[in-house]
Amino acid sequence: MAERAIEANELSKRYGDDVQALDGISFSVEQGTVFGLLGPNGAGKSTTVKILTTLSHPTAGSASVMGFDVTSQAAEVRKQIGVVAQSSTADREATARENLRLQGQLYRMGGRDLEDRIDSLLDSFSLAADGDRIVRGFSGGMERRLTIAMALVHRPKVLFLDEPTTGLDPEVRAEMWEEISELASGEGMTILLTTHYLEEADMLAGNLAIVDQGRIVAEGTPDALKKELKGDAIQVGLGDSRDQAEVTAALGAVDGLSEIIIHERVLHARAEDGARSVPTILSALDAAGIAADTVTISRPSLDDVYLKYAGRTMEQAEKNQNEEVAA
Protein backbone atom coordinates (compact mmCIF):
# COMPACT_ATOMS: atom_id res chain seq x y z
CA MET A 1 0.00 0.00 0.00
CA ALA A 2 2.93 2.24 0.71
CA GLU A 3 3.92 2.74 -2.91
CA ARG A 4 1.53 5.67 -3.09
CA ALA A 5 3.00 8.61 -1.23
CA ILE A 6 -0.14 10.73 -1.49
CA GLU A 7 -3.76 9.77 -2.06
CA ALA A 8 -6.55 12.31 -2.24
CA ASN A 9 -10.13 11.11 -2.56
CA GLU A 10 -12.89 13.53 -3.43
CA LEU A 11 -11.49 16.29 -1.24
CA SER A 12 -13.86 19.17 -0.70
CA LYS A 13 -13.42 22.29 1.33
CA ARG A 14 -15.98 24.97 2.05
CA TYR A 15 -15.23 28.20 3.86
CA GLY A 16 -18.43 29.56 5.34
CA ASP A 17 -21.55 29.28 3.21
CA ASP A 18 -20.47 30.59 -0.12
CA VAL A 19 -16.79 29.83 -0.70
CA GLN A 20 -16.24 26.40 -2.22
CA ALA A 21 -12.45 26.25 -2.37
CA LEU A 22 -12.31 22.56 -3.34
CA ASP A 23 -15.03 20.69 -5.11
CA GLY A 24 -14.08 17.01 -5.07
CA ILE A 25 -10.39 16.66 -5.92
CA SER A 26 -8.88 13.19 -6.37
CA PHE A 27 -5.38 12.26 -7.37
CA SER A 28 -2.53 10.07 -6.26
CA VAL A 29 1.20 10.47 -6.28
CA GLU A 30 3.63 7.59 -6.51
CA GLN A 31 6.62 7.48 -4.22
CA GLY A 32 9.75 9.10 -5.50
CA THR A 33 8.04 11.17 -8.16
CA VAL A 34 7.40 14.87 -8.64
CA PHE A 35 3.74 15.79 -8.95
CA GLY A 36 2.60 19.23 -9.99
CA LEU A 37 -0.69 20.94 -9.23
CA LEU A 38 -1.05 23.56 -11.92
CA GLY A 39 -3.63 26.29 -11.96
CA PRO A 40 -4.27 29.98 -11.59
CA ASN A 41 -4.30 31.69 -8.21
CA GLY A 42 -7.41 30.76 -6.27
CA ALA A 43 -7.95 27.49 -8.13
CA GLY A 44 -7.61 25.48 -4.91
CA LYS A 45 -3.97 24.44 -5.01
CA SER A 46 -3.01 25.96 -1.68
CA THR A 47 -6.13 24.61 -0.02
CA THR A 48 -5.20 21.13 -1.22
CA VAL A 49 -1.71 21.53 0.24
CA LYS A 50 -3.15 22.80 3.53
CA ILE A 51 -5.31 19.70 3.84
CA LEU A 52 -2.52 17.29 2.89
CA THR A 53 -0.17 18.91 5.41
CA THR A 54 -2.76 18.63 8.25
CA LEU A 55 -3.15 22.39 8.55
CA SER A 56 -6.75 22.36 7.45
CA HIS A 57 -9.51 19.76 7.59
CA PRO A 58 -11.49 18.77 4.51
CA THR A 59 -15.24 19.40 4.61
CA ALA A 60 -15.70 16.11 2.78
CA GLY A 61 -13.50 13.41 1.29
CA SER A 62 -10.30 11.93 2.64
CA ALA A 63 -6.59 11.91 2.00
CA SER A 64 -3.53 10.05 3.15
CA VAL A 65 0.19 10.69 3.11
CA MET A 66 2.56 7.69 3.25
CA GLY A 67 -0.45 5.61 4.22
CA PHE A 68 -1.50 7.78 7.17
CA ASP A 69 -4.85 9.53 7.15
CA VAL A 70 -4.41 13.31 7.26
CA THR A 71 -7.28 13.84 9.70
CA SER A 72 -7.24 10.84 12.03
CA GLN A 73 -3.46 10.25 11.96
CA ALA A 74 -2.27 13.84 11.63
CA ALA A 75 0.57 13.34 14.13
CA GLU A 76 2.06 10.53 12.01
CA VAL A 77 1.61 12.50 8.79
CA ARG A 78 3.50 15.46 10.29
CA LYS A 79 6.57 13.30 10.91
CA GLN A 80 6.64 12.26 7.25
CA ILE A 81 6.35 15.64 5.58
CA GLY A 82 8.34 18.78 4.96
CA VAL A 83 6.58 21.95 3.88
CA VAL A 84 7.93 24.95 2.02
CA ALA A 85 5.35 27.71 2.11
CA GLN A 86 4.76 30.32 -0.53
CA SER A 87 6.68 33.04 1.26
CA SER A 88 9.66 32.70 3.54
CA THR A 89 8.74 31.49 7.00
CA ALA A 90 12.22 31.81 8.46
CA ASP A 91 12.63 33.84 11.63
CA ARG A 92 14.38 36.96 10.35
CA GLU A 93 15.75 37.93 13.75
CA ALA A 94 17.66 34.65 14.08
CA THR A 95 20.64 33.26 12.21
CA ALA A 96 20.35 30.60 9.52
CA ARG A 97 21.84 28.05 11.90
CA GLU A 98 19.42 28.96 14.69
CA ASN A 99 16.49 28.64 12.30
CA LEU A 100 17.64 25.21 11.21
CA ARG A 101 18.28 24.15 14.80
CA LEU A 102 14.81 25.14 16.04
CA GLN A 103 13.29 23.44 13.01
CA GLY A 104 15.13 20.22 13.90
CA GLN A 105 14.04 20.56 17.52
CA LEU A 106 10.41 20.81 16.40
CA TYR A 107 10.93 17.30 15.03
CA ARG A 108 12.60 16.21 18.27
CA MET A 109 16.08 16.08 16.80
CA GLY A 110 19.05 17.19 18.85
CA GLY A 111 22.69 16.80 19.74
CA ARG A 112 25.44 15.83 17.31
CA ASP A 113 23.00 14.34 14.82
CA LEU A 114 21.19 17.66 14.44
CA GLU A 115 24.36 19.77 14.29
CA ASP A 116 25.84 17.51 11.60
CA ARG A 117 22.64 17.69 9.61
CA ILE A 118 22.64 21.50 9.88
CA ASP A 119 26.24 21.67 8.64
CA SER A 120 25.55 19.44 5.68
CA LEU A 121 22.39 21.38 4.72
CA LEU A 122 24.15 24.75 4.98
CA ASP A 123 26.79 23.26 2.77
CA SER A 124 24.52 21.84 0.10
CA PHE A 125 22.43 25.01 -0.08
CA SER A 126 25.55 27.19 -0.43
CA LEU A 127 24.93 28.89 2.91
CA ALA A 128 27.95 27.54 4.76
CA ALA A 129 29.59 30.97 4.93
CA ASP A 130 26.37 32.64 6.10
CA GLY A 131 25.23 30.16 8.72
CA ASP A 132 25.84 32.53 11.61
CA ARG A 133 24.43 35.64 9.96
CA ILE A 134 21.03 37.06 10.89
CA VAL A 135 18.49 36.17 8.19
CA ARG A 136 17.28 39.80 7.95
CA GLY A 137 20.39 40.59 5.89
CA PHE A 138 19.87 37.73 3.43
CA SER A 139 19.00 38.19 -0.24
CA GLY A 140 15.71 36.79 -1.54
CA GLY A 141 17.44 33.80 -3.07
CA MET A 142 19.39 33.02 0.09
CA GLU A 143 16.29 33.21 2.25
CA ARG A 144 14.45 30.94 -0.18
CA ARG A 145 17.26 28.39 -0.06
CA LEU A 146 17.23 28.54 3.74
CA THR A 147 13.47 27.97 3.79
CA ILE A 148 13.88 24.84 1.69
CA ALA A 149 16.80 23.62 3.80
CA MET A 150 14.61 24.09 6.89
CA ALA A 151 11.91 21.89 5.39
CA LEU A 152 14.50 19.15 4.87
CA VAL A 153 16.17 19.07 8.29
CA HIS A 154 14.26 16.01 9.48
CA ARG A 155 14.70 14.12 6.18
CA PRO A 156 11.02 14.11 5.20
CA LYS A 157 9.65 11.40 2.91
CA VAL A 158 7.28 13.81 1.18
CA LEU A 159 8.08 17.43 0.43
CA PHE A 160 5.39 20.01 -0.31
CA LEU A 161 6.45 23.06 -2.27
CA ASP A 162 3.74 25.69 -2.46
CA GLU A 163 4.54 28.07 -5.34
CA PRO A 164 8.28 27.62 -4.81
CA THR A 165 9.36 30.35 -7.19
CA THR A 166 6.58 32.93 -7.01
CA GLY A 167 7.99 36.38 -6.49
CA LEU A 168 11.56 35.41 -7.33
CA ASP A 169 13.46 37.08 -10.13
CA PRO A 170 14.19 34.92 -13.19
CA GLU A 171 17.78 34.24 -12.26
CA VAL A 172 16.90 32.97 -8.80
CA ARG A 173 14.00 31.03 -10.26
CA ALA A 174 16.33 29.11 -12.58
CA GLU A 175 18.56 28.42 -9.57
CA MET A 176 15.57 27.08 -7.63
CA TRP A 177 14.54 24.82 -10.48
CA GLU A 178 17.96 23.29 -10.50
CA GLU A 179 17.79 22.84 -6.73
CA ILE A 180 14.37 21.17 -6.91
CA SER A 181 15.38 18.83 -9.75
CA GLU A 182 18.36 17.76 -7.70
CA LEU A 183 16.18 17.07 -4.67
CA ALA A 184 13.87 14.98 -6.79
CA SER A 185 16.60 12.89 -8.34
CA GLY A 186 18.35 11.98 -5.08
CA GLU A 187 17.11 10.04 -2.04
CA GLY A 188 13.78 9.01 -3.55
CA MET A 189 11.83 11.81 -1.93
CA THR A 190 8.32 12.45 -3.20
CA ILE A 191 7.62 16.06 -4.12
CA LEU A 192 4.30 17.76 -4.57
CA LEU A 193 4.57 21.24 -5.97
CA THR A 194 1.94 23.79 -6.81
CA THR A 195 2.57 26.42 -9.39
CA HIS A 196 0.84 28.79 -11.71
CA TYR A 197 3.81 28.86 -14.02
CA LEU A 198 3.18 26.52 -16.95
CA GLU A 199 6.87 26.48 -17.71
CA GLU A 200 7.68 25.37 -14.17
CA ALA A 201 5.19 22.50 -14.17
CA ASP A 202 6.45 21.38 -17.54
CA MET A 203 10.03 21.45 -16.41
CA LEU A 204 9.82 19.87 -12.96
CA ALA A 205 6.78 17.63 -12.70
CA GLY A 206 6.68 14.07 -13.96
CA ASN A 207 2.91 14.06 -13.53
CA LEU A 208 0.58 16.93 -13.16
CA ALA A 209 -3.01 17.80 -12.54
CA ILE A 210 -4.57 20.97 -13.86
CA VAL A 211 -6.82 22.54 -11.25
CA ASP A 212 -9.52 25.01 -12.07
CA GLN A 213 -12.20 26.32 -9.72
CA GLY A 214 -11.64 23.63 -7.10
CA ARG A 215 -11.72 20.72 -9.56
CA ILE A 216 -9.14 18.76 -11.48
CA VAL A 217 -9.82 19.31 -15.16
CA ALA A 218 -6.97 17.26 -16.61
CA GLU A 219 -4.30 14.91 -15.34
CA GLY A 220 -1.30 13.14 -16.82
CA THR A 221 2.31 13.64 -17.80
CA PRO A 222 3.02 17.05 -19.32
CA ASP A 223 3.73 15.36 -22.64
CA ALA A 224 0.57 13.25 -22.65
CA LEU A 225 -1.53 16.28 -21.81
CA LYS A 226 -0.03 18.21 -24.66
CA LYS A 227 -0.44 15.29 -27.02
CA GLU A 228 -4.15 15.24 -26.41
CA LEU A 229 -4.35 18.54 -28.14
CA LYS A 230 -3.50 16.85 -31.44
CA GLY A 231 -1.95 19.86 -32.94
CA ASP A 232 1.80 20.09 -33.34
CA ALA A 233 3.38 23.20 -34.68
CA ILE A 234 5.49 22.54 -37.76
CA GLN A 235 8.05 24.92 -39.16
CA VAL A 236 9.86 24.34 -42.43
CA GLY A 237 12.71 26.57 -43.49
CA LEU A 238 12.51 27.14 -47.26
CA GLY A 239 15.48 27.35 -49.58
CA ASP A 240 14.23 30.54 -51.24
CA SER A 241 11.36 33.03 -51.07
CA ARG A 242 7.99 31.66 -52.10
CA ASP A 243 4.46 32.99 -52.42
CA GLN A 244 1.87 32.08 -49.87
CA ALA A 245 -0.48 30.95 -52.66
CA GLU A 246 2.12 28.81 -54.30
CA VAL A 247 2.95 26.93 -51.11
CA THR A 248 -0.68 26.53 -50.06
CA ALA A 249 -1.47 25.02 -53.44
CA ALA A 250 1.49 22.63 -53.17
CA LEU A 251 0.31 21.39 -49.76
CA GLY A 252 -3.36 21.13 -50.68
CA ALA A 253 -3.22 17.36 -50.80
CA VAL A 254 -1.65 16.86 -47.34
CA ASP A 255 -4.16 15.56 -44.79
CA GLY A 256 -4.78 17.24 -41.48
CA LEU A 257 -2.69 20.30 -42.17
CA SER A 258 -4.02 23.70 -41.28
CA GLU A 259 -3.03 27.29 -40.58
CA ILE A 260 -0.43 27.41 -43.35
CA ILE A 261 1.46 30.67 -43.22
CA ILE A 262 4.63 31.79 -44.97
CA HIS A 263 6.65 34.29 -43.01
CA GLU A 264 10.16 35.32 -44.00
CA ARG A 265 11.03 32.12 -45.86
CA VAL A 266 9.62 29.97 -43.09
CA LEU A 267 6.54 27.85 -43.54
CA HIS A 268 4.39 27.62 -40.37
CA ALA A 269 1.63 25.05 -40.17
CA ARG A 270 -0.31 23.02 -37.64
CA ALA A 271 -0.59 19.26 -38.06
CA GLU A 272 -2.64 16.72 -36.11
CA ASP A 273 0.39 14.50 -35.81
CA GLY A 274 3.54 16.36 -36.66
CA ALA A 275 5.93 13.45 -36.94
CA ARG A 276 3.66 11.62 -39.38
CA SER A 277 2.94 14.66 -41.54
CA VAL A 278 6.50 15.76 -42.11
CA PRO A 279 7.44 13.20 -44.83
CA THR A 280 4.24 13.96 -46.74
CA ILE A 281 4.84 17.67 -46.48
CA LEU A 282 8.39 17.33 -47.69
CA SER A 283 7.49 15.18 -50.67
CA ALA A 284 4.64 17.54 -51.59
CA LEU A 285 7.04 20.48 -51.47
CA ASP A 286 9.60 18.53 -53.49
CA ALA A 287 7.02 17.63 -56.14
CA ALA A 288 6.23 21.35 -56.49
CA GLY A 289 9.93 22.15 -56.84
CA ILE A 290 10.13 23.97 -53.50
CA ALA A 291 13.37 23.34 -51.62
CA ALA A 292 13.24 22.72 -47.83
CA ASP A 293 16.27 23.29 -45.58
CA THR A 294 15.16 22.62 -42.01
CA VAL A 295 12.18 21.13 -40.23
CA THR A 296 11.07 21.68 -36.62
CA ILE A 297 8.11 20.12 -34.88
CA SER A 298 7.03 21.61 -31.58
CA ARG A 299 4.52 20.20 -29.16
CA PRO A 300 1.74 22.45 -27.92
CA SER A 301 2.60 24.20 -24.69
CA LEU A 302 0.80 23.74 -21.38
CA ASP A 303 -0.70 27.13 -22.12
CA ASP A 304 -2.65 25.49 -24.91
CA VAL A 305 -3.57 22.60 -22.62
CA TYR A 306 -4.95 24.91 -19.99
CA LEU A 307 -6.92 26.79 -22.59
CA LYS A 308 -8.47 23.58 -23.84
CA TYR A 309 -9.53 22.21 -20.44
CA ALA A 310 -10.42 25.34 -18.53
CA GLY A 311 -11.91 27.09 -21.53
CA ARG A 312 -9.88 30.23 -20.96
CA THR A 313 -6.29 31.23 -20.78
CA MET A 314 -4.58 31.14 -17.45
CA GLU A 315 -3.98 34.87 -17.66
CA GLN A 316 -7.72 35.40 -18.09
CA ALA A 317 -8.48 33.08 -15.17
CA GLU A 318 -6.18 35.00 -12.86
CA LYS A 319 -7.66 38.29 -13.96
CA ASN A 320 -11.17 37.03 -13.16
CA GLN A 321 -9.96 35.79 -9.81
CA ASN A 322 -8.45 39.15 -8.95
CA GLU A 323 -11.64 40.90 -9.94
CA GLU A 324 -13.64 38.58 -7.70
CA VAL A 325 -11.33 39.31 -4.82
CA ALA A 326 -11.55 43.02 -5.42
CA ALA A 327 -15.36 42.96 -5.67
Binding site: Y15, K50, T53, T54, L55, S56, H57, A75, R78, K79, I81, V83, A85, Q86, S87, S88, T89, D91, E93, A94, E98, L102, Q103, Q105, L106, Y107, R108, I134, M150
Partner: protein, 259 residues
Protein backbone atom coordinates in the same frame (compact mmCIF):
# COMPACT_ATOMS: atom_id res chain seq x y z
CA UNK B 1 7.93 15.83 28.85
CA UNK B 2 7.71 16.88 25.21
CA UNK B 3 5.77 19.95 26.26
CA UNK B 4 8.60 21.10 28.54
CA UNK B 5 11.28 20.57 25.91
CA UNK B 6 9.19 22.18 23.17
CA UNK B 7 8.35 25.14 25.41
CA UNK B 8 12.01 25.65 26.20
CA UNK B 9 13.04 25.48 22.53
CA UNK B 10 10.31 27.91 21.54
CA UNK B 11 11.19 30.25 24.42
CA UNK B 12 14.85 30.31 23.38
CA UNK B 13 13.86 31.87 20.08
CA UNK B 14 12.20 34.82 21.85
CA UNK B 15 14.89 35.13 24.50
CA UNK B 16 17.59 35.31 21.83
CA UNK B 17 15.68 38.02 20.00
CA UNK B 18 15.43 39.92 23.29
CA UNK B 19 19.14 39.62 24.01
CA UNK B 20 19.90 40.90 20.52
CA UNK B 21 17.74 43.98 21.08
CA UNK B 22 18.40 44.90 24.69
CA UNK B 23 17.11 48.42 24.02
CA UNK B 24 13.68 46.86 23.96
CA UNK B 25 13.88 46.23 27.71
CA UNK B 26 14.98 49.84 28.15
CA UNK B 27 11.96 51.06 26.15
CA UNK B 28 9.53 49.07 28.27
CA UNK B 29 11.15 50.56 31.37
CA UNK B 30 10.45 54.15 30.31
CA UNK B 31 6.90 53.97 31.63
CA UNK B 32 7.75 52.53 35.08
CA UNK B 33 10.53 55.07 35.45
CA UNK B 34 8.13 57.89 34.65
CA UNK B 35 5.75 56.51 37.25
CA UNK B 36 8.46 56.21 39.86
CA UNK B 37 10.08 59.58 39.26
CA UNK B 38 7.09 61.69 38.23
CA UNK B 39 4.31 60.23 40.34
CA UNK B 40 6.76 59.67 43.15
CA UNK B 41 7.70 63.33 43.07
CA UNK B 42 4.23 64.76 42.45
CA UNK B 43 2.28 62.89 45.04
CA UNK B 44 4.66 62.59 47.98
CA UNK B 45 2.16 64.55 50.05
CA UNK B 46 -0.24 61.61 49.82
CA UNK B 47 1.77 60.17 52.69
CA UNK B 48 0.21 62.80 55.00
CA UNK B 49 -3.37 61.78 54.09
CA UNK B 50 -5.26 60.24 56.99
CA UNK B 51 -5.58 56.51 56.36
CA UNK B 52 -2.18 56.22 54.63
CA UNK B 53 -0.35 53.06 55.79
CA UNK B 54 2.04 53.93 58.61
CA UNK B 55 5.79 53.92 57.99
CA UNK B 56 5.50 53.58 54.21
CA UNK B 57 6.72 56.34 51.89
CA UNK B 58 4.78 57.11 48.70
CA UNK B 59 7.70 55.79 46.70
CA UNK B 60 7.75 52.50 48.50
CA UNK B 61 4.01 52.22 48.25
CA UNK B 62 3.88 52.48 44.46
CA UNK B 63 6.83 50.14 43.70
CA UNK B 64 4.83 46.85 43.84
CA UNK B 65 2.13 48.53 41.74
CA UNK B 66 4.66 49.72 39.18
CA UNK B 67 6.18 46.24 38.97
CA UNK B 68 2.85 44.49 38.54
CA UNK B 69 1.71 47.05 35.99
CA UNK B 70 4.92 46.73 34.02
CA UNK B 71 4.43 42.96 33.94
CA UNK B 72 0.80 43.36 32.99
CA UNK B 73 1.56 45.83 30.19
CA UNK B 74 4.43 43.90 28.64
CA UNK B 75 2.38 40.70 28.77
CA UNK B 76 -0.61 42.54 27.33
CA UNK B 77 1.35 43.43 24.22
CA UNK B 78 2.62 39.84 23.85
CA UNK B 79 -0.01 39.10 21.23
CA UNK B 80 1.63 41.51 18.78
CA UNK B 81 4.51 39.09 18.18
CA UNK B 82 1.96 36.31 17.69
CA UNK B 83 0.22 38.33 14.97
CA UNK B 84 3.54 38.95 13.28
CA UNK B 85 4.30 35.21 13.33
CA UNK B 86 0.81 34.44 12.01
CA UNK B 87 1.20 36.87 9.12
CA UNK B 88 4.62 35.55 8.22
CA UNK B 89 3.41 31.92 8.16
CA UNK B 90 5.67 30.96 11.05
CA UNK B 91 2.74 29.62 13.10
CA UNK B 92 1.67 27.45 10.19
CA UNK B 93 5.22 26.16 9.90
CA UNK B 94 5.02 25.10 13.56
CA UNK B 95 1.57 23.56 13.07
CA UNK B 96 2.65 21.24 10.25
CA UNK B 97 5.44 19.88 12.49
CA UNK B 98 4.93 17.38 15.32
CA UNK B 99 5.71 20.03 17.97
CA UNK B 100 3.27 20.25 20.89
CA UNK B 101 0.59 22.75 19.87
CA UNK B 102 0.49 24.47 23.24
CA UNK B 103 4.24 25.13 23.18
CA UNK B 104 3.58 27.79 20.53
CA UNK B 105 1.95 29.80 23.33
CA UNK B 106 3.81 28.52 26.39
CA UNK B 107 7.21 29.28 24.83
CA UNK B 108 6.16 32.92 24.50
CA UNK B 109 4.82 33.00 28.04
CA UNK B 110 8.04 31.55 29.44
CA UNK B 111 10.18 34.14 27.66
CA UNK B 112 7.70 36.79 28.83
CA UNK B 113 8.18 35.57 32.38
CA UNK B 114 11.93 35.98 32.09
CA UNK B 115 11.50 39.50 30.68
CA UNK B 116 9.20 40.37 33.56
CA UNK B 117 11.69 39.07 36.12
CA UNK B 118 14.46 41.22 34.62
CA UNK B 119 12.25 44.31 34.47
CA UNK B 120 11.08 43.75 38.05
CA UNK B 121 14.65 43.53 39.30
CA UNK B 122 15.53 46.77 37.52
CA UNK B 123 12.53 48.58 39.04
CA UNK B 124 13.38 47.23 42.49
CA UNK B 125 16.94 48.46 42.07
CA UNK B 126 15.79 51.88 40.87
CA UNK B 127 13.42 52.18 43.82
CA UNK B 128 16.21 51.24 46.19
CA UNK B 129 18.50 53.87 44.65
CA UNK B 130 15.71 56.41 45.19
CA UNK B 131 15.69 55.53 48.86
CA UNK B 132 13.01 52.85 49.19
CA UNK B 133 13.25 50.23 51.92
CA UNK B 134 12.05 46.62 51.43
CA UNK B 135 11.24 45.14 54.83
CA UNK B 136 10.13 41.90 53.12
CA UNK B 137 13.75 41.27 52.16
CA UNK B 138 14.89 38.89 49.39
CA UNK B 139 12.00 36.51 50.04
CA UNK B 140 9.52 39.36 49.66
CA UNK B 141 11.16 40.45 46.41
CA UNK B 142 11.11 36.90 45.08
CA UNK B 143 7.43 36.49 45.95
CA UNK B 144 6.61 39.83 44.30
CA UNK B 145 8.48 38.84 41.13
CA UNK B 146 6.73 35.46 41.01
CA UNK B 147 3.37 37.15 41.44
CA UNK B 148 4.20 39.59 38.66
CA UNK B 149 5.12 36.56 36.57
CA UNK B 150 1.77 34.90 37.21
CA UNK B 151 -0.03 38.12 36.20
CA UNK B 152 2.11 38.16 33.09
CA UNK B 153 1.16 34.56 32.35
CA UNK B 154 -2.58 35.29 32.59
CA UNK B 155 -2.57 38.48 30.55
CA UNK B 156 0.00 37.09 28.13
CA UNK B 157 -2.26 34.11 27.45
CA UNK B 158 -5.20 36.47 27.05
CA UNK B 159 -3.30 38.69 24.62
CA UNK B 160 -2.10 35.70 22.58
CA UNK B 161 -5.60 34.25 22.46
CA UNK B 162 -7.02 37.57 21.37
CA UNK B 163 -4.31 37.85 18.71
CA UNK B 164 -5.33 34.48 17.28
CA UNK B 165 -8.94 35.58 17.08
CA UNK B 166 -8.68 39.12 15.73
CA UNK B 167 -5.38 38.75 13.83
CA UNK B 168 -5.05 42.48 13.16
CA UNK B 169 -2.43 44.53 14.93
CA UNK B 170 -4.57 47.68 14.95
CA UNK B 171 -7.51 45.84 16.52
CA UNK B 172 -5.30 44.22 19.14
CA UNK B 173 -3.81 47.60 20.08
CA UNK B 174 -7.30 49.08 20.43
CA UNK B 175 -8.56 46.13 22.50
CA UNK B 176 -5.57 46.14 24.83
CA UNK B 177 -5.67 49.88 25.30
CA UNK B 178 -9.33 49.60 26.16
CA UNK B 179 -8.41 47.12 28.91
CA UNK B 180 -5.03 48.15 30.22
CA UNK B 181 -5.81 51.59 31.61
CA UNK B 182 -9.06 50.79 33.44
CA UNK B 183 -7.52 47.70 35.02
CA UNK B 184 -4.59 49.83 36.13
CA UNK B 185 -6.68 52.46 37.79
CA UNK B 186 -9.29 50.18 39.33
CA UNK B 187 -6.52 48.90 41.59
CA UNK B 188 -4.49 49.95 44.58
CA UNK B 189 -1.51 50.86 42.41
CA UNK B 190 -1.06 54.46 43.54
CA UNK B 191 -3.21 54.85 46.63
CA UNK B 192 -4.62 52.48 49.23
CA UNK B 193 -8.12 51.39 48.25
CA UNK B 194 -9.37 52.75 51.56
CA UNK B 195 -8.72 56.22 50.14
CA UNK B 196 -10.36 55.48 46.79
CA UNK B 197 -14.07 55.99 45.98
CA UNK B 198 -16.27 53.13 47.14
CA UNK B 199 -17.10 51.90 43.65
CA UNK B 200 -13.43 51.56 42.79
CA UNK B 201 -12.81 49.70 46.00
CA UNK B 202 -15.68 47.33 45.14
CA UNK B 203 -14.64 46.86 41.52
CA UNK B 204 -11.01 46.25 42.49
CA UNK B 205 -12.05 43.07 44.28
CA UNK B 206 -12.59 41.50 40.84
CA UNK B 207 -9.45 42.86 39.25
CA UNK B 208 -6.56 40.38 38.88
CA UNK B 209 -4.14 43.32 38.68
CA UNK B 210 -5.30 44.44 42.11
CA UNK B 211 -4.98 40.92 43.57
CA UNK B 212 -1.36 40.92 42.45
CA UNK B 213 -0.60 44.41 43.73
CA UNK B 214 -2.07 43.70 47.19
CA UNK B 215 -0.26 40.40 47.56
CA UNK B 216 3.01 41.73 46.16
CA UNK B 217 2.89 44.80 48.37
CA UNK B 218 2.37 42.75 51.50
CA UNK B 219 5.28 40.49 50.55
CA UNK B 220 7.64 43.38 49.81
CA UNK B 221 6.71 46.06 52.30
CA UNK B 222 5.30 44.35 55.40
CA UNK B 223 7.80 43.45 58.08
CA UNK B 224 5.66 40.38 58.72
CA UNK B 225 3.83 39.68 55.43
CA UNK B 226 0.20 38.60 55.49
CA UNK B 227 0.79 35.11 54.07
CA UNK B 228 -2.91 34.31 54.18
CA UNK B 229 -3.68 37.23 51.91
CA UNK B 230 -0.72 36.42 49.66
CA UNK B 231 -1.83 32.79 49.32
CA UNK B 232 -5.47 33.56 48.52
CA UNK B 233 -4.60 36.30 46.01
CA UNK B 234 -1.98 34.10 44.34
CA UNK B 235 -4.50 31.28 44.23
CA UNK B 236 -7.02 33.55 42.53
CA UNK B 237 -4.34 34.66 40.07
CA UNK B 238 -3.52 31.04 39.25
CA UNK B 239 -7.19 30.37 38.58
CA UNK B 240 -7.27 33.45 36.37
CA UNK B 241 -4.13 32.25 34.57
CA UNK B 242 -5.62 28.79 34.01
CA UNK B 243 -8.80 30.32 32.58
CA UNK B 244 -6.78 32.50 30.22
CA UNK B 245 -4.65 29.53 29.16
CA UNK B 246 -7.87 27.66 28.37
CA UNK B 247 -9.05 30.68 26.40
CA UNK B 248 -5.79 30.78 24.41
CA UNK B 249 -6.11 27.07 23.66
CA UNK B 250 -9.68 27.56 22.45
CA UNK B 251 -8.54 30.50 20.35
CA UNK B 252 -5.92 28.27 18.79
CA UNK B 253 -8.42 25.67 17.71
CA UNK B 254 -10.70 28.38 16.37
CA UNK B 255 -7.78 29.70 14.33
CA UNK B 256 -7.12 26.23 12.95
CA UNK B 257 -10.74 25.89 11.89
CA UNK B 258 -10.46 28.97 9.72
CA UNK B 259 -7.28 27.87 7.91
Amino acid sequence: MNLFNDTWHMAQRHIRALIRQPWWIAVTLVQPIIWLVLFGGLFTNMEKTPGWPAGVTFHEFIIPGVIVMTAFFSAGWGGMAMIDDLNRGIIDRFLVSPVTRSSITTGRLLSGFITIAIQSLIVLALGWIMGADYPGGPLGMLVLILIAGVVGFGFGAFSNGLALIIRKEESLIAMMQFLLLPLTFVAAAFIPLALAPNWIEAAAKFNPVNWAIEAGRSALLDGSPDWGLIATRTGLLLVFGALMAAFATRAFSSYQRTV
